[in-house]
């Protein structure tokens, strides 16, 4: 059988199986097992278990449950509530201030946690009802929350970046640092967009009446609410940037720090801790079984020559390196509409990274561009995880269609930030290049 037909068979079976709603992790695992038997021979199956074992005992993957745990503890710690109070006192008097402030808080939360859900859920519960109470237009109040949540995995720490880094042998620490500026640019774009729209039409986000606004004394007293997030950011990002600890160690320290913050705010009770532990168990198992399935599948693609075959086709396209890059990004964008982000990474990166290397792209830069495009998939309809998280909060006046329409403006904004990172690679590479180690 030619390599071309093997490629078509393997990939069409994978997509067919996935389209039935069968879990992506097991789709990849079972296609890998069947593929090994059919294309390599049953005796080759002995390679499956060592692949699984090696992935389960990879140092850097220990960071995944630790950062998930940190995010879960953060969610119940009460740090978000204090942060929201501070923001409210400072921002509520501005046109669109609460929506801008929501993005600002999501930016801070993003620098503490690495999942899209944390910011979305925290702010969806706190900020959305308050904005509606203050007369914000519904779509203005909705859109900023899942969009802000998408900053979570873009601004370090980041679970997707741990996967991308380990799959492509790029330093996870450097990848983390590479995400800072692109994340801040996205955040800035979101805030500017809200500010301009609400400035032109104050009905979208009316400012708080003058007599209800906080005075300067109250504003400065409320700043007490920001020590905890600053401490957590310094612990985690400071530790990684200075080279004092690895991303995995930073995860452990950050989780411990989040527990201490929760204890200080008196939210570290048995119920909250139990919730954080069991959430970590579930989410970590979901991500890591994707890693297991993805590793098995990509080893099948490697051993049958599918990886090299597809890479050579992509590299050989007569559209130049930038053209190939855009084609790959387009594929990721379309997949992002239907498939969850960690799955896309496990399916695409093992083929796209060798392609990028063959085209002469910097792996760190490409890793970040890739991650950013996958993260945009978190907010693109039909299947955007952040949109479902927001819907899952159960606000009675919000339909799925409301969310789909509300999020639309934020997609081109993120794409614009991505375009900037492609045109000016320094945005991505500057901070990692100044790292001490």
């Amino acid at each position: 059988m030619t390599i071309g037909s093997i490629t078509i068979i393997i990939w069409s079976f994978l997509f067919l199986l996935m389209m039935t709603g069968f879990p992506v992790a097991f789709s990849m695992l079972s296609i890998a097992v069947v593929g090994y038997i059919v294309f390599v021979g049953p005796q080759a199956l002995y390679t499956i278990f060592p692949i699984v074992f090696r992935n389960l005992t990879t140092d850097i993957y220990i960071a995944i449950p630790l950062f998930i745990f940190m995010a879960a503890v953060f969610q119940v710690s009460g740090v978000g509530d204090r942060l929201y109070e501070t923001m409210y006192k400072w921002m509520a008097g501005l046109r669109g201030g609460l929506a801008i402030g929501t993005v600002a808080i999501c930016t801070v939360v993003a620098a503490i946690t690495g999942l899209g859900g944390t910011g979305t859920v925290t702010m969806g519960l706190l900020a959305y009802p308050e904005m509606r109470k203050r007369g914000y237009e519904k779509r203005m109040a909705i859109g900023c929350i899942p969009a802000g949540g998408a900053l979570g995995p873009l601004i370090p720490p980041s679970i997707p970046m741990i996967l991308v880094g380990n799959l492509s042998s790029v330093s996870v620490g450097k990848l983390f640092m590479a995400g800072i500026l692109p994340g801040l640019i996205c955040s800035l774009f979101f805030m500017l967009y809200i500010a301009i729209r609400c400035f032109l039409n104050p009905d979208l986000g009316p400012p708080l009446p003058r007599e209800e606004r906080a005075n300067w004394k109250e504003k400065f007293i409320s700043l007490r609410g920001v020590w905890a997030p600053i401490l957590l950011i310094l612990l985690v990002l400071g530790g990684i940037y200075s080279g004092a600890c690895t991303p995995t160690e930073a995860g452990g320290i950050g989780a411990a720090g989040a527990l201490i913050c929760a204890a200080i705010y008196r939210n570290l009770n048995r119920e909250n801790l139990r919730w954080a532990v069991i959430t970590t168990m579930r989410v970590n198992a979901m991500v890591m079984w994707l890693v297991i399935g993805g590793a098995s599948f990509s080893s099948l693609c490697g051993i049958t020559g599918v990886t090299n075959f597809v890479r050579d086709i992509l590299v050989g396209l007569p559209v130049g390196p930038m053209g190939v890059l855009l084609i790959m990004l387009l594929i990721l964008f379309i997949m992002g509409m239907f498939i969850e982000n960690a799955s896309i990474i496990m399916i695409c990166l093992p083929i796209m990274m060798p392609t990028a290397l063959a085209l002469g792209f910097d792996p760190l830069w490409f890793g970040l561009i890739f991650t950013m495009m996958v993260i945009i998939g978190m907010i693109t309809p039909v299947f955007g995880y952040n949109l479902f998280y927001f819907k899952g909060l159960g606000h009675a006046d919000v339909s799925m269609m409301d969310i789909y329409i509300a999020i639309l403006p934020y997609i081109p904004l993120m794409l614009a930030a991505l375009a900037l990172c492609i045109i000016f690679p320094e945005i991505v590479l500057w901070i990692p290049n100044t790292m001490i180690k």
Binding site: T20, V24, F26, L66, R282, M288
Partner: protein, 170 residues
């Protein structure tokens, strides 16, 4: 049909998830402990990471069944999300053979590896070199729990379809 079996496996996986999920706490403490030893006492350990990778592996393999029990292993619902529960169950019933085959082969290979590991009293390839075979036995048990949870899903889907059919006949 098989409701007693389903109940036992569901409870078992819930119990395993709730108990072993707490391993995240020692994992976190060991990581912090190692950093403190290195910086404050200038005495890095050689054993912490050998324990940590086993804690990670334990969390993952024992969490697999728990996650399946609670529908946490995500799939692509764009096409099948609007199907009625019995139709969806029919689709899941067909694809479940892939699950049993993939996870079954993995369990078989893991068992062979664990047996071999016990026979030679295998040590982990590191400086500290702790025995690794207890962990490999644990992996087999974890994959078994995942497999059994898949059987539960199969039985429940089957029941859903049979119930629909018997209702149609009435």
């Amino acid at each position: 049909m098989g409701s007693r079996f389903c109940q036992i496996i569901n409870n078992l996986n819930d119990w395993v998830g709730k108990i072993f999920g707490w391993l995240i706490i020692p994992l976190m403490l060991l990581v912090v402990f190692d950093v403190i030893l290195r910086y404050i006492f200038n005495r890095p350990t050689i054993w912490v990471w050998d324990i940590n990778v086993q804690l990670l592996g334990t969390l993952v393999v024992l969490g697999g069944g728990y996650a399946l029990r609670h529908g946490a292993h995500i799939g692509v619902d764009a096409l099948v999300g609007h199907l009625s529960p019995p139709k969806r169950a029919m689709v899941d019933l067909i694809t479940s053979f892939f699950f049993f085959f993939g996870v079954g082969v993995l369990m078989w290979k893991a068992t062979m590896d664990a047996i071999f590991s016990v026979q030679i009293k295998e040590l982990y390839t590191s400086v500290f070199a702790p025995p690794i075979y207890p962990f490999k036995i644990l992996m087999v048990l974890g994959i078994l729990l995942l497999f059994l949870q898949g059987v539960v899903k199969f039985i429940q889907d089957l029941n859903l379809i049979l119930k629909k059919e018997s209702k149609n006949r009435q």
